[in-house]
Symmetry: none
Subunit: 402 residues, 2 copies
Amino acid sequence: MDLDFIKKLVKTNDSKIVMLVLDGIGGLQIETDGLTELETAKTPYLDKLAKHGVCGLHIPVGAGVTPGSGPGHLGIFGFNPVKYKVGRGVLAAMGTGFALDPGDVAARGNFCTVDKEGKVLDRRAGRISSEKNKELCKLLSEKIHIPGVEVFIQTVKEHRFLIVFRSVGLSGDLNDTDPQEIGKKPLEPKANSPDAEKTVKIVKDFLMQAKKILADQHPANMILTRGYSQKPVWPSFQEVFGIKSAAIAGYPMYRGLAWLLGMDLLECGDKLEAEISSLEKNWDKYDFFFIHIKPTDSSGEDGDFDRKVKVIEEVDKLLPRIIKLEPDVIIVTGDHSTPALLKSHSWHPVPLLIWSRYCRTDNVEKFGERECIKGALGPRLPAVEILPIALANAKRLEKYGA
Amino acid sequence: MDLDFIKKLVKTNDSKIVMLVLDGIGGLQIETDGLTELETAKTPYLDKLAKHGVCGLHIPVGAGVTPGSGPGHLGIFGFNPVKYKVGRGVLAAMGTGFALDPGDVAARGNFCTVDKEGKVLDRRAGRISSEKNKELCKLLSEKIHIPGVEVFIQTVKEHRFLIVFRSVGLSGDLNDTDPQEIGKKPLEPKANSPDAEKTVKIVKDFLMQAKKILADQHPANMILTRGYSQKPVWPSFQEVFGIKSAAIAGYPMYRGLAWLLGMDLLECGDKLEAEISSLEKNWDKYDFFFIHIKPTDSSGEDGDFDRKVKVIEEVDKLLPRIIKLEPDVIIVTGDHSTPALLKSHSWHPVPLLIWSRYCRTDNVEKFGERECIKGALGPRLPAVEILPIALANAKRLEKYGA
């Protein structure tokens, strides 16, 4: 079932849908026969929604596939992440609010440390402060000159920054220069297709100039680049699903992705409580709210089982404020699993609950991985099916056929 | 999700995967409210793996489809059996170790008994001995001459043999001559496409000569042929999944299929115990072991419920020897169901368990059809998803996207 099919069924009404994304919510038991993070957490409000709604687990991309944040979110937004691809550079641009023109090539930059031979000693330059990053980006912006090309360099956070090249005839079809390992030299940029040859020349020039400019800036004495890409041309969320949508997300990548789909980006900061306040404040203005909760993922990545449990419990405590707004549909899920045991994203199915006045009650009593297996949405729902089901529960889809 | 998608995510490490295939494992209760063969069997070790791993049932080819052994195995090896087709003739060639050249046409032959009018009385010629078979194959090899064509005739077992035609411009696109019923004459070979017309002429000549040569060899006084086919050109198992693979299988068809995918064929014989010894002996040499257990299927085909139960219990007793080798991932499943009640392959979903250190515990306590419905892999997992999930559990797949 593709977007064109759903698009034809869409109708509008005044219903409201909240999609609460606990990034990396899915977990794993640490010990044999143990409980996962979500199963361990005391979540009376989530449990009540789960009991009265429908539950299941979703597969973000495909069987066995561990999704990055981009593909993970695209899936739960109803966009097949195998078909709709977005580069890291474009995500970084979107996240900083940089208005990419069609044709611009964006890349993610990392300040890094290299030794005298040019071999990478630290891929993140000791995670320099955002202040130092700003200073270096200013320096690069002032000093780098490439004839016929506008170059934009903007701080993201810590060691991370954004590079945008603006000219005619550019392409994002070239390799990363980040070798992904210490002890190796940065890779030479190479064109993956003839289209990208002009861009490769520009990037080589850029990297050579950057190297000279940063030479005495140890530990940030070189840069690594990744994810050269151009803004993709996609249908917007509103165009496909007929909903006026807003994103409440603190972190650049998620804001960028939401913007790429045409969602409005609301002010919120990165505290959970502030995100809910933003929801309350903007309640009347939108049909669909994507609320992104980052620390479930960060605590999982840190391998901190207990902190992940606590974050989930904090989110649960904020739920009554969402419920009080009387949304027609509430979706609670994640973009992928991030088990503390693995300290990384994983391939495991992601717990999912959809609540509305019109859900057919299933056998699930609590919101947890094992309980969700018993749910009406099944243990392996393709993520792209979540949004059509939510729209149906909001009575926003016409009958198909006579 | 196709093989090309998975191939791009594959990385290598030193993990080991064991796939234990109990051919035809899925069964049926004989009486209303009764238990299946697998549910009846006492299987403490399988139950323990099921409890700590993830379970489900898989669909080898598609809803309602009863798979032959070829498609059944291709599915659990991750190759879509609707897309990847292999003829019975090619399988027979592979199983006897015959080195098919590209362009060769192979077919399965059966010695059969015909009456004076040429009508088939026994499609298997009373299952003549393999010795008699060898004698007859020798006779045919010596006497049959077709200008411009090399003909190879090799004993398989009992009444079964292999025929290979080698020439230029051949095609396997013609029908079986086996009428699949007694009381009927063998069918005339006919080309399904113009490409096969030369081959049809050769086959007609071959059958006419064989008829004359065998006329006084009652009960083996004629032959039936099936599965004309050419060696398909496929990516190898190692190429796609990045795993060095070996097959421990006693029967020609399964060895043939494994060889076609580029697996090494290990010596084993057809005793269960000898198969496990072969696994132990070769443990250090491979990343992936396919172990094929035939008698679950043969007992099912014979309608022998109790023998099938016993075979399953024997396999269970051998499991500790596999577990002792400390594989990273263990898969236990079948290529299809063979319920004793039906005395044949069937369309029923096939019990499946995957065990690794990183499985998220589900609600399954024992390995059996009804229990598996409660599993995290769901009651109808497409068979082709088994291998990507196993690779993920072996940490052999990269994250998809940033």
